[in-house]
Every structure is written in C-alpha cells, then in structure tokens.
C-alpha cells in the first residue's frame, strides 16, 4: 500500500477523497445543528427531522451517483439535498418559508426538490416515494437512458404495501433502481423487531429476486464502497439492487419526541460509533488531518452556514397573491 492511500474498511481511499467525505458529513452535521437552533428560535417550523448520526449513508451513497442519476428521498432528506449539490442557502431559505427557497417556501423541510440536481423530493408519506422511483427508472429504461434512480427510505417503510408492490415491479421489469434502506432500527418509537416478523431486511428484499447487500452505515467508506458495487451492478444489469445501511438516529424522531422508547445507554452506545468522529480518528492516525486542519474545515463550514442563514434572512416572502400559483402549470409547460 502506497503512502498516498489509506486502507480503511476494505478499500483504498485517497487522502483527498477521505477529506471530502469528512467535509460532507460535517456540513450536514453542522447545518442540522444550526437548523435545530433555528427551530427553537421559531425561524423554522412544521416538522424537522434530523439526519444527525446517519450522515455516512447519504455521503457514501452520493459517491456512487452521477449528476444524471435521480434521487427520491424521504422527509429526512437534508443530507441528500446537500450531497446532491444543492446550496445550503436554498435549503435554509426553504425551511424559513422564503421565496428564495428551493420550492419558494411551499415545501419546507420535508419537501426539498431540485430539478437541476434531479432530487424528486422529500416525500412525507412513508413509502410514498418508492413507486415514484420505480416510474422514473421505467422512464429511463423506455428511453434507453443509462441512469440510476436511487430510492432512499427507512426500515419502517418496508412494512408498507407500497414497498412490496414497488420491489416486485422493479424486479419483474428489471428496472435500474438502487433501493437504499436506511435502517436506523426505529420507526418513530417502533423498534424494528416490533415492526417486522423478519428483521434481516436483506432477506426480505431477496424474496423479490433482487440482489442485496448490507453495510455498516456508520462507516462512510464502507458505505461508499458498497454503494459503488451496488450502483455498478444496477448499471451493468439494468436491474434493481437493495442496499441496507445499518445506522442510528442520534436525535429524536422529530422536534416533538420524548424518546420514551429507547434508553440513554443505547443512544450513547451508538454515539460512540459516530461516523464523523471515527473518520477523524482514522484520518489523524494516518496523519492526513490535524487539529488545525480540522479547525480550518470547521471554519469554512461555519462560514458557509452563516452565509446560508443570512441568505434566508434576507430573502423575501412569497406574495400571498401567488397562493394558487403552481396548482396547475402555466399552460405551455409540457
């Protein structure tokens, strides 16, 4: 192994790439910490579902996707919005409900959309995004476009009928969908074993004749590697793949959650495996980053966030005259 490479997980990752992983995870972490603050300050309202603890998943997955690929996510999608390339400003402004937000303030935290980066939401109905992903992949197949549609959902969504129907269609029609299950072991307060008669999620997916893999969702490099293999398989076979990422939600489900359903110790145990801290340790051991370098990165991110908040603060409110704008397209669109 050359000294320009580091063996982490099972793979060779360059210094540049591993620092990029760190930066992306930190950007999500700090952005959401700020969002939580702004929620308490009543700048952000509605539901706010934080991704804190699960950052390695979105960051690792993003590595395997091209700008032509599509992403369908859930209400816990800030991470995906960022890794897809959306600016913090357009996301923050959206959560402020301002016109400069990616959806002109109509969507909020649960509904981040971006045509340019092919992010198809932000869906607040559990399981609701799966059929959409199947359809996007069907459109690609019919148009002979070699694109992947990445569909992310929580383990809780797997109990919904739409999971069953969508997996079957994707497998039956050999559609290029990368199903990414973010298994954080809880659906709100319902533990996986209270939700599924079989907790080995890959074996559930296998029952649709779909290729599967399970990866440690707290290890960004492992996720990136697994996602690469998975997406390569999708590109080669043109058919679906199911990737389970085992991760954990450090924060409450949303901003109103007494967390009666899990113990402090359990949460603490998982925090020991924080994807960001562990990567930092490994990078330091490798001598690829030191405290000052880290400090610098934190500074840059802090500035980026401050600029985004500023942008959101400065932005205008949509005029109420435009309330029914976008209920239908201005004719012409087609």
């Amino acid at each position: 192994m050359t000294n320009t490479d580091i063996k982490i997980g099972q793979s060779l990752v360059s210094q540049e790439q591993s620092l990029h992983f760190l930066r992306q995870m930190l950007r999500i972490r700090r952005f959401e910490e700020k969002s939580a603050e702004l929620y308490s300050a009543m700048k952000i309202r509605g539901f706010l579902h934080l991704y804190i603890g699960e950052e390695a998943v979105a960051v690792g997955i993003a590595e395997a996707l091209t700008s032509d690929d599509a992403v369908v996510a859930t209400y816990r999608e800030h991470g995906y919005a960022m890794v897809r390339g959306m600016s913090m400003g357009s996301i923050m402004a959206e959560m402020y409900g301002k016109v400069a937000g990616c959806c002109r303030g109509r969507g909020g935290s649960m509904h981040l959309f971006d045509a340019e980066h092919r992010l198809y939401g932000g869906n607040a109905i559990v399981g609701g995004g799966l059929p959409i992903a199947v359809g996007l992949a069907l459109a690609d197949q019919l148009q002979k476009k070699a694109q992947v549609t990445c569909c992310c959902f929580g383990e809780g969504a797997m109990a919904e009928g739409e999971f069953h129907e969508s997996m079957n269609l994707a497998a039956l029609w050999k559609l290029p969908v990368l199903f990414v299950c973010e298994n954080n072991f809880y659906a709100m307060g319902t533990a996986l074993q209270l939700s599924e008669s079989i907790v080995d999620l890959s074996s559930k997916a296998a029952a649709y004749a779909v290729q599967t893999a399970t990866v440690d969702g707290m290890d960004v490099i492992a996720v990136a590697e697994a996602a690469k293999k998975a997406s390569d398989t999708v590109r080669e076979t043109g058919g679906p793949f199911f990737l389970e990422c085992r991760t954990y939600r450090f924060r409450p489900h949303s901003m109103f959650d007494p967390e009666l359903y899990r113990s402090k110790q359990e949460v603490e145990g998982w925090k020991q495996r924080c994807p960001i801290l562990s990567l930092i340790q490994r990078l330091k051991k490798q001598g690829w980053i030191d405290d000052s370098g880290l400090e610098e990165m934190e500074q840059e991110i802090a500035t980026e966030i401050a600029t985004a908040v500023d942008f959101a603060e400065q932005s205008e409110w949509e005029s109420v005259e435009d309330l029914s704008k976008f209920v239908h397209s201005d004719s012409g669109v087609n």
Binding site: F113, P131, N334
Partner: protein, 330 residues
Amino acid sequence: MGELELRKMTYRDAVREGLREALQKDERVFLIGEDVGRYGGCFAVSKGLLDEFGSERIRDTPLSESAFTGAGIGAALGGMRPIVEIMTVNFSLLALDQIMNNAATYLHMSGGQFNVPLVIRMATGGGKQLAAQHSHSLEGWYTHIPGIKVLCPATLEDARGMLWSALIDPDPVLIFEPAVLYPMEGELAERAAAVNIDRAKVHREGKDLSLISYGSCLHKCLDAAVILAEKGIEVDLLDLRTLRPLDTESFLASVAKTHRALIVDEGWRSGSLSAEISARIMEQAFYQLDAPVERICSAEVPMPYAKHMEEAALPQVTTIVETARRMVHG
C-alpha cells in the same frame, strides 16, 4: 374528405381509437394497467393494441394499483406520457394516496419545478348488478382534490377526443368512463377532431328548466327531455363533461335563462357533485331563481346486487321526468 365520412362504432371503439391515435402520435405515450395487454382490457377497450404496439407500450401489470399508479407518476416526471388504466374506480382507492399526495401535489410542493403530465383512466358507475364493492361512482368525489383535472366523457366524440386533450395537458388528468356506456353505438368522423376540456356542452336548448348532468346520467336526461318535450316542457340540457374545474359559467348562463335547475348525477347524494353545483348556483344566481335547485342522485346505500334494488338506488328517467314536471308546473 375523411373528416366528413361517418363511421358506426361503439363508445368502447371510440376510446380504443383515442388510445391508438395517441400511441401513434407520441412515442412517449404508453398504456399501463391490469390486463390491458394479453387479456385485451377488462372491458375489451384495449383489445388488439398489444399486437399493434408491443408489450412495452401496452404494459400488463401485477395487481398493484398503488405501485403502478405511482410508477405512472414517476414515468411522467421522467419524460414519458403514461396513460395509467385502473380497471375501475372501485380499485382506485388503493391508489388514492399516490393520486392525492403525489400526483396532485408535486408541482405545487416543488415550487413549480415538477409538473406531472399523467393521464389516469378508469371505468366508473353502477347499473351492471355488480353490488357494493364494484359499483361506485366516485368521479364527483375526486373533484374535491386540487391539482388534478377530472373528465367524464358521455359521448363517442369525447370518449375518443378527450384523451389527447388530457395528454397534452401538463398536469394530471383523470378520465372516468361510465362502464355502462361502452356498448353504446353511434357515429364518428373518420379523423378525430380535438375536443376542448374546459367547457360544458348544451345538448338541448330550452327555457323552462336547466337540466345539468354528465356521464351515464346524461343519457337518462336526454330520454327524459324527449318525454318532457312531449309534455310541453323544454329543458336546457347541459353535459358538464369536465367535472374539475367546473364550467360554472355555462350552468349559470343556463339558469339565467330558465330560472330553475335540476342536477342529476349518479354519486351518493350527500357530498355529491350536485351539491357543489347547487351551492354555486345559490351563491351566484340566487336572485335569478324562481324555485329551489333540486338534485337527483343515488340512494345512500352500498349498491345492492338485485336488479330491482339497484334500479331503485340509481337515478331513473321517470324520476327525472316527474321532478322536472313538478318543478316547472308546481
């Protein structure tokens, strides 16, 4: 010229021609649903299309209403022009989440970024002794949902022409085909003329009473109108055609002329489309009314199987005639 030559065909044939023309005109168009291909369509509407267009464009699906309807939404977002066929409105309840929470909201939720050029077709209505789970007439109910358009072709011309108009609409359009009309015969011009999907159509002009209806009930109203004419009552007969958005102007114009209105629809009475029309007339034409607007709808019961019971539950010509006479002559 072709346009002028009239051909005998059924409502079923007209829908099929509309589908064939759309599939020929735009390669982004495909038909997807249960048994649309090998079976030929549960009402034989798509019979023959599989051979003509192949299994990619005439796509049979498993029994998965929610997923294949959602897949239609996704395919529309992905650049295609899907026509999703849900066999009947009764099964559309399984796809309602996709319709209301995705198809109808995507454009608005995304701040105008993602429109959904999707058409969903389904058969609707009772009258075939299919009982409580297979006789719903929910097209009026669907008109409550912002973000979608709702059409109900009652004539061969609309059965063939509305599909294309719906396909060129950038947003989701639901087309409800009254199952009892499929065998209805009529004549159509060789080539389809484009039809508008924003105006009601006056089928008969009259000064005594506005008779407002759509779909299968339109034909009961046409029969009633003939009987009423014999009794010297001239009705202004409107086919709403597009149920959302409603062409309020047309029925207000009619009421301004007749000062009396009777609405006939097959939905259950409470919360029927008729209620909305009555409320709009109340709000916008109250002072022009000589008598209260009345409704004839279906009885509020799960549809019974027995023929005589089903007939008692559905709007009938005799009821329309009697009600119209009472309203005009008191």
